[in-house]
Structure formats: C-alpha cells, structure tokens
Amino acid sequence: MSADTLLLAALFIPVLGALAIAACDRWPDLRETVTLLTAAALLLCVLSLLGPVLAGAQPQLTLVQMLPGIALSLRIEPLGMLFALVASSLWVVNSIYSIGYMRANREAHQTRFYVCFALALACTMGIAFSANLLTLYLFYEALTLITYPLVTHHGDDEARRGGRLYLGYLLTTSIVFLLPAIVLTWAAAGTLEFTAGGILGSGLSNAGIGGLLALYMFGIGKAALMPFHRWLPAAMVAPTPVSALLHAVAVVKAGVFSVVKVIVYVFGVERISGLASVDWLPFVAGFTIIAASIVALRSDNLKRRLAYSTVSQLSYVVLSVSLLAPLSVLGAALHIAAHAVSKITLFFAAGAIYTASHKTEVSQLDGIGRRMPWTMGAFAVGALSLIGIPPAVGFVSKWYIFQGAAATGHSLVMLVLGASALLNAAYFLPIVYVAFFRPPAGADHGEAPLPMVFALCLTATLTVGLFFYPQIPLALARQLAGF
C-alpha cells in the first residue's frame, strides 16, 4: 500500500472499527475482539508509516476543499508521527485494560463506550496528521465532543456536572480564543498550512504576535494552561480507562501537541525567539507547573492527584517549547511520549486499585502494595519516570528540557524544573512508601483482573524500555527540532 492510502486508512480504520463495534452490540465477546483488532490494525498502519517518515518522507493527502484556499488535508510530519505512534500503541494496551475494567466493574453502555473510544482515536489521528490549522481545529473540536459521552459515562448528576465543566472549558477556550486566532492567522498570513519556519512572515507587528500567541496558548484549552485547567480534574468522573487514555494520552496530548505544532509550524521558532512580546509564556507555564504540583500535593483523591500532576506535566511541554531553543523543542516532543507512557501506567494502577479494592483516596492505600505488588510496582515505575529518575523515560525528556534551559540561560526555568522535581517526589513517593511499608488494613483482596494487570505491566515495561531504547522517538524529535 502506498503511503497515501495508509494515511487515509489511519483515519478510517477507527471509524470503520466503530461501526463494526456498534454492529456487534449484542455479542460482547465479538465486540471486544473487534475493538482489539481495530486497535491492532491501526497500530500496524501507523507502524508501516513510520519507516517512510523516518526516511524523511512526508506523505500528504487532501480530502476535501473546505473553504476556498483551505482544504481538509492530512500530512505526516515527525511530531505528528510521534503523537500518532504514542496514541495508537497505547490504544492497544488500553483496550486490553478496558475489557478487564469494564467487565469487572459491570459498567453499563459498554458498546457506546467502545464506539466513542474508537471515534476519539480517529479524531486523534486526524489531529496528529493534520496538514493545516483548520483541519487541526476540526478534529480538535470533534475530539472534545466525542469524548463528552465518555466523560459523562455514568450519567448521574456528578457526571453531568463534570461534563459541563469539561465541555464548558474546552468549548469556551476553543471557540472564544482559538477560532479567532485561526481567522486572524488566515487574515494575516493568507494560509493556514503548517510550514517549517512558520507562516506569519511580517504580516503582524511584534505586539500582534504576542497577542496571537496568547490567543493560541489559552485557546488550546486541552493543554490545560492555568487558568483554564479546571476541566481536567472535572473530567476524572469518567471511568478510569477513559481517564487513562484520553486524559493522559489523547486529549491532553492533543493539546500540547497543538501547542508545539503551532509554535513550530505557525509562528516559527526562529521568527519569534527573542521577541519581548512572547517571553511571558515560560512564566505562565512555570507558574502552572508549580501551582498544579502544590494542588496535587494537597489532594487526597488519587485520580485528582494524578489529574493535577497531568496539568503540571503538560506545562513542562509548553514551558520547554516556549524556550524556543532546538534542544528544548526536542525535549518537548520527547516529553509528550514520555509523559504518556508514564501517566497511563499510573492511571491504570489507580483503576486497578479501584477495581480490586474500591479505594479511591491516597489515605486508604496503606499496605496495598503487599496485596497488589504488580500494580504498585508499576505505579512506582511510573512515579519515578515523572519525577525524572533513571532508568525511566521521564529522565530522558527532562534531560533535554534541562539542557535547553541551560543553553538559553533561563536560570529561573532551571529553578522551576528543580523545584517541580522535588514536588513530584513529594506527592508520588509517599504513595509508594505507604503502599509497601505500612501494614495493610481492611478486607483482604488480590490483584485486579488479569487483563488489567497485564496492561499496566506492559506500559511500565515500556516506560523503562524507552529509557534504554529511545531511538525512535528521539529520531522523530530530532527531525522536528532540525538536528
């Protein structure tokens, strides 16, 4: 198959999968088989695109002319490839996990769940491979809407409240800030194509660029830059597999991915580096990192703590790309992948704990590591990775981010990075400590169902494995940063 066909397939495999899943409504076993097959097919499809892209090809495909001069079109560039690779491979693992979780917790509306999941992945592929801002925006909004039924899966009042916040924040930011930003870009540049080196040219004044950047950064609400982060903890009302894939991988990563993409391909790193009107961004991102970490420290609910940790980690990506140095852009791209595998492990663990023991609070976790050694072992690996301790992949990305900061001489940023590593340790390590070194309390229980444990061990392995073999993400990130 040619690269173009594969590109189209990447978009349509999940859609067709969703249809097939819907058709198998009455046969749960068949439905879940179809889910797994679809996920595997998508991964295969993305993997077979990897070779050409690593070799420097950028397959391109125009679907339909949406507005005069702006087509709905797809193009693969290194960052998109990295994102698609992360999302599609973690979907396979997540599907295994979902089957265990949804069955063990006897969740309702499972068909709707799997259908929306597959469609969300289609949107994610669309975002990853979008060739211009309008395509990106289209799939970005579609992702928000298609994940709404997932977030509100339980259908009770709490879910509805969470759903309102989720939709409220994401739609408000994207309609009020992002859409005008895109129209403005179109008016100023006459194009929306993602182009290496940026498209803005000299159409805007420096102050205008600063304003536009603000519209983009706060408009991409999925990146959860403060003060538009509240949707993320609110969305934790969703079943854990949703939180895991969507809020550690697809949705939030779509946010930071868009941030990186906009800065690299719309503004152009060189075009805006050194501009006084854009140097506020590292401060906002740095503030988000520290503030979110402090909130995480004070949260007793495990998923909420993870959510705030995500808010903080997302800002790592924003912070590092906002340094506008090649090394830091590389670090940002790597951190998208690193955070994905680490955080999904943590969410998997949280879901496994809930399934096996129905515990949701950190203070209830005394001694749980003795009853669920695999789960908590994986949790520890994920936690180490996010703190940035080798041998875990988080160390690699943080290393590059740190180097970028050093190269640009941002001492304040280095300070933030150091402080945040300490804070990360402060909110993760106590969980690991009490889980293994406190005596267990309450009724005895074992590990969660096998598919779940298998899945979380797999991602934990990946977290460590990518430390030793970071070649593929590194190569893609290097292509992006232009090494």
Binding site: Q65, L138, R164, I175, L179, P180, V183, W186
Partner: protein
C-alpha cells in the same frame, strides 16, 4: 421551447396547483400534487441556477411585454440561490408533511393545508424571482396570507392569536413596503427593479428616497423579524403545525432577507445606504442586540419549539450582521448563512415535528430521556444544534468563519469577540436539550414511545446530513454565495 419559459413556470406551477387541489378536495391527492410541485420547482430552480452560471442573468418578460413596462422576471446569481434554497426546503418538507399533518389536523382540512402550502411556495418563489417592485408586493401578500392560514391551522388555540398578531404585523410590514415603493415610484416613474436601480442614480432630490429606504427597511424588517420587530415570530413558530414551522423557519424569513439585500445593495446602492445613512451602524447594533438578547432568551425557554424560534431571531441577527459589515467576507457570510441556517433550522424543526407527534408536546420537560426512546431524532437535533453553535465540520461553522473574517477586516475586534461569545450562548441552549434528552430517565409510560415514522425521519435526516455535508464540502453554497455577492457588490459600483 419549454426551457425558455422556466422563469414563469417556476411560479406558475405551484400557483396553478393550488386551485386544482381546492377543486379535487382530497387530502391524499393534494399531498401528492404538493410533493410533485415542490420537486418540479426544485428541478426548475436548479436548471435556472445552472443556466445563470453558464450564461449570466436571465430576463423573462411576462406576456412578452418588454421591461420596464411589463413585469420582468429576472434571475441572477443572487436570487437563483434563494430559489434553490426555497424549493429545496419545500421538496424536503412536502413528503414529510403527510404523516405530520395526518396526526395534527382533522381530515377535512388536509387538502386546504396543502393548497395553502403550494400558495405559500408560489409566493416565496415569486418574491425571489420577480424583477418588479409591485409584483413583489403581491407575491409577498400571497405568501403571507397563506402563511397566516397555515399558522391558524395549528392544533393549539393559541395558534389563532399568533396568526392574528402575525397578520396585523405582517400587513403593516407589507404596507410599509408598498409605501416605500410608492415613494420610489413617485421619484423615478418605474417599478422595474433593474430600471429603478439605474434611475435612482439620477435622482437628486434625495429626501423622499431616504424616506422610501426607511419605509422599506421597517416593512421588510418586520417580515424578516429583524430585532426589535421580531415579536410575532416565536408564537407563530411555536403554534404552527410542525411541518409549517420547519418550512417557514427555513425559507420565509430568508426570502425577506433577500428582499432587503436586493434593495440595499442593488437598488439603493452602498453609497446611499451606508454612505449617506448610518445603516451599517444601525444594522450592526440591531443585529448584535438580536444575537445576544434572543440567544439569552432562548436559553430560558421551556418549550423546544419556542427555544429554537428565539434562536432563529438570533441567527437572523447573524445574517443582518453580515449585511451591515457590507464587505466581501461579511456579505458572503450573510448569504451563506441564509442557506446554512435554512437547512439547519429546517432539520431541527422537522425533527421536533417527530417529537410533537410521538410525545404529544415539545416542552423541554417532556423531552426527558428522549435519547432512550427516540435516539435518531435526539441525535439529529444534537447534530443540527452543533451547526447552530458553529462547530467545525457543520454548515454553521462556514458562515461564522466568514462573519468573523468580515469583522476582523473592518478591525471590529469587539464584534469578532461578540460573535464567538454568542456561539457559547448557543451551546447553552443546545446543551439544555442534550442534558434533558440524555441524562434524564424517560417518564413512566414513555417507554412505549417509538421513533417517528420513516416518512418523517428520512426527510429530517436528509436535512441533518446536509448540515454536515455542507460543512465539509462547502463548494455549492459558497460558490453560490460568492457569485451572489458579486451581484450585490458589483451592482453597487
């Protein structure tokens, strides 16, 4: 050659069908004829649009009396676009109407209903196609009178008062229009629109012309429910029979918008309307008030039909906003929104007709758990609602894009902000429906409810599909709008 007489046939076919239905007095026959007539009208409108694109403006002299003495039918890129919209909506609504009417009206009124429907269609097509200002008035009254009857046919007795109020206001509006035309006639001695446009350039005594502009604006503004002249609309839409609400919302106000566009940009001309008078400021202010206030009012409605009726007032505000911007992007947004809002609101009201049929009411409270009992209907409303919001990938997004672009080109930053904020209000009212339909348990006893019959669901979903299709592949409405805008702005210079 029959092809030469297409402009006349466009109006004559539905006009002649009406008395035929009256003579036969059979509901089934009338329905069949109305459907056939609508489809014929659509075919003719498409043929005309094609011809206009190939060969430019078509001029047809009724009875072979040459213009400007005789009545001229004149089809250009602008009104062929409107003709397509009106006949398209009619051809979707007509097949739908059978089941809906059977449920809502007593048997002996069925043929009357379709008679009035055909007359209304003839009137709307006539308004769009005619090149004569007085002829336009006559068609305006034909469509209005039949509309009053159709609204009065509604099941609820409040429909009567709504029809009465609409009759009074509509007649005032039409009379204002004809006063304005009279003043123009006094100044120029012609009623032919194209001729009028030419001769007005030579008129030096400007005051009567300005008075005419004021009368026509107020008159047509009443018909198109320009804020604050919209008070007739919510009741009329809420109590009319379901199919009629869909038809009116999708076509009647749009035709009035066309009339205003024609008068502002082609006849009076940009220098007069926007140069001598602050009509841009007036239009933009009124539109902004319409968009914000009507959207807010929509959020607090307890009846779905009323909710979306208020939303119509707001959406018309978007169209007049584009007019007020008066630049290429803004006008493109206005004209394309004419089409996009037509299909979007058409879809919503058609689906609500199904709700009215099965649930027996369109009150929001009764829609609890609707997604369980009528999943296709609910999902259709949500999709069309997204088009109202302007989510990318739906038709509404395209209009919003151009309107924002138009505002930015003028440097109206506040306006651009307002446009996007108003979309959020649309999110609020659409989401009231979503939460009611998807998060509430159905009322006890509602479990027996089924989907609307296929004859209603299929036309409604054609509209919903159009909302999505024309959001992705925008070439048809956009090309139509762009050549229409060329007519509008070209005629002014």
């Amino acid at each position: 050659m029959i092809a030469d007489h297409l402009p006349a046939l466009q109006v004559v076919v539905p006009l002649l069908a009406a008395p035929l239905m009256l003579l036969v007095r059979r509901g089934g026959f009338a329905w069949l004829l109305a459907t056939l007539v609508s489809w014929t009208a659509l075919a003719i409108a498409l043929a005309l649009a094609f011809k206009v694109r190939e060969a430019g403006t078509i001029s047809y002299a009724i009875g072979n009396w040459p213009p400007p003495w005789g009545i001229e039918y004149r089809v250009d890129a602008l009104n062929s676009f409107v003709l397509v919209l009106v006949s398209l909506v009619a051809s979707v609504v007509a097949p739908y109407a059978r089941a809906s009417v059977a449920a809502e009206l007593p048997r002996e009124q069925h043929y009357l209903y379709f008679t009035m429907f055909s007359l209304c269609l003839a009137g709307l097509l006539g308004i769009s196609i005619t090149g004569d200002a007085f002829n336009l008035f006559v068609f305006l009254e034909i469509s209005s009178l039949s509309t009053y009857v159709l609204i009065a046919l509604g099941r609820n007795r409040r429909g009567l008062l709504a029809a009465y109020q609409y009759l009074v206001l509509g007649t005032i509006g039409a009379t204002f229009y004809i006063i304005g035309v009279g003043l123009l006639y006094l100044m120029t001695g012609t009623l032919n629109l194209a001729d009028l446009a030419q001769r007005l350039r030579e008129v030096h005594e400007i005051r009567p012309v300005l008075a005419a502009l004021a009368f026509i604006t107020a008159g047509v503004g009443l018909k198109l429910a320009l804020f604050p002249l919209h008070f007739w609309l919510p009741n009329a839409y809420a109590y009319a029979p379901s199919a009629i609400t869909a038809f009116l919302a999708a076509s009647a106000t749009k035709v009035s918008v066309y009339v205003l566009l024609r008068f502002y940009f082609v006849i009076f001309g940009v220098p007069l309307v926007f140069g001598r008078l602050p009509m841009a400021e007036v239009l933009i202010t009124l539109s902004v008030l319409a968009v914000v206030s009507a959207s807010l009012v929509a959020v607090f409605q307890r009846d779905l039909k009323r909710m979306f009726a208020y939303s119509s007032v707001a959406q018309i505000g978007y169209i007049t906003l584009g007019m007020g911007l008066a630049n290429k992007a803004g006008l493109t947004g206005a004209v394309v929104h004419l089409f996009n809002h037509g299909i979007t609101k058409g879809a919503i009201f058609l689906l609500l007709g199904g709700v009215a049929l099965r649930v027996g009411s369109t009150s929001l409270a009764r829609a609890a758990g609707l997604a369980r009992t009528m999943p296709l209907t609910s999902f259709g409303i949500v999709l069309a609602g997204m088009s109202l919001i302007g989510i990318p990938g739906t038709a509404g997004f395209v209009s919003k894009w151009y309107l924002i672009l138009g505002a930015i080109e003028h440097g109206y930053w506040g306006l651009a902000l307002l446009l996007v904020v108003s979309s959020l209000i649309a999110v609020a009212y659409v989401w009231r429906f979503v939460e009611m339909a998807y998060f509430r348990e159905p009322e006890p006893g509602a479990a027996r409810l089924a989907e609307a019959p296929a004859s209603m669901l299929v036309p409604a979903w054609i509209m919903v599909a159009a909302c999505v299709y024309f959001g992705l592949d925008t070439s048809f409405p956009l090309e139509g709008a762009r050549s229409a805008v060329t007519v509008l702005l070209g005629g002014a210079r």
